[in-house]
């Protein structure tokens, strides 16, 4: 017997929007923290979670933790919602591009006035 399944024509895009935006936020924060730790000895010392790896351990751990928290919060709030995905996507790509640029040492050095 053929199985007939009812499929919603327009499933909510909220959970995908949450995943995309939180990922972009995480990448952006990674770039910001990388530049900030490079420019501030105090912050670098604070982010030195695992001494053999230095501040890199804190920069990445904090960025990943914030990404996952952001994802969990947004996924809960947007579970059944449909958002204007085009605008959200443009904003997410802007954050992702900035995150990528901030990891590029000459770009980060511009911010630090070097």
């Amino acid at each position: 017997m053929t199985e007939i399944r009812l499929v919603p024509q327009n499933p909510a895009n909220g959970p995908v929007a949450a995943a995309v935006l939180s990922c972009a936020v995480g990448c952006f924060l990674l770039g910001v923290l990388a530049v900030a730790a490079d420019g501030s000895k105090r912050l670098a010392a604070t982010l030195n979670f695992y001494h053999p790896s230095g501040p890199l351990s804190g920069v990445t751990t904090v960025a990943i933790a914030l990404w996952l928290v952001c994802w969990a919060v947004l996924a809960t709030r947007w579970r059944n919602r449909s958002l204007a995905f085009g605008k959200l996507s443009a904003f997410a790509f802007l954050l992702l591009a900035l995150g990528l640029l901030l990891t590029f040492p000459p770009f980060g050095d511009l911010f630090l006035g070097r």
């Binding site: 890199l56 992702l96 590029f104």
Partner: protein, 191 residues
């Protein structure tokens, strides 16, 4: 034929985890382009059907390799790379110090490693998101063109980040190889 422990771990990091991740990401990009085909989407009569088992295994293995690459790099190899050399030590065992010891090689650290050590993390983060959307939200992928374009874009950025990190890693390891530690015999001598 011998290899040192540090060389072995570095090979596993770069050639097994990193190499597989980069190849799998490229494969995932091709898969995504195929799934983005309007004819294929129109023919998907059951868009909420779970992904085939092999695709689930493939995407999960890809993401696991990405995380294994960055975690082994940051917490096993990077400490060997950046270790402080005692006075008078052989700098060959301290790659960062070896590179920094000469103006013609300092850029491999100041530019190459500084970029690689951060940009690498974008790849597993973005690929985790891509795999999660494809495995858990196939219906949204099929229904919304903007979702497909965005996820494809993030997959492309993940590939770019992994390629930058892998390329720099390979080149830096040629200039100043991570070496030392216990010797492991892989094969008996041919002599």
């Amino acid at each position: 034929m011998e290899i040192t422990l540090r060389e072995l771990v570095t090979s596993i990091h770069g050639m097994l985890f990193g190499g597989f991740f980069l190849m799998a990401l490229f494969g995932a990009l091709v898969l995504l382009l195929d799934w983005n085909n309007p004819d294929r989407i129109a023919g998907d009569v059951s868009p909420e059907r779970p992904a085939p088992r092999w695709q689930t295994i493939y995407l999960v293995a890809m993401v696991a390799a990405g995380w294994a690459a960055v975690l082994s790099g940051a917490y096993m190899i990077y400490p060997w790379y950046r270790a402080v050399a005692p006075t008078g030590a052989d700098l060959a065992l301290y790659p960062q110090r070896l590179l920094m010891s000469h103006p013609t090689t300092a850029g491999w650290h100041n530019f190459g490693m500084e970029w690689k050590e951060h940009v690498a993390w974008i790849a597993p983060m973005a690929s985790t998101m891509v795999a999660w959307v494809l495995l858990k939200h196939r219906a949204a992928w099929n229904a919304h063109r903007a979702v497909r374009t965005t996820v494809l874009g993030f997959a492309a950025v993940a590939f770019l980040a992994a390629a930058i990190a892998g390329g720099w890693g390979a080149m830096i390891n040629k200039k100043a190889p991570v070496q030392g530690g216990q010797s492991i015999q892989l094969m008996g001598s041919t002599k």
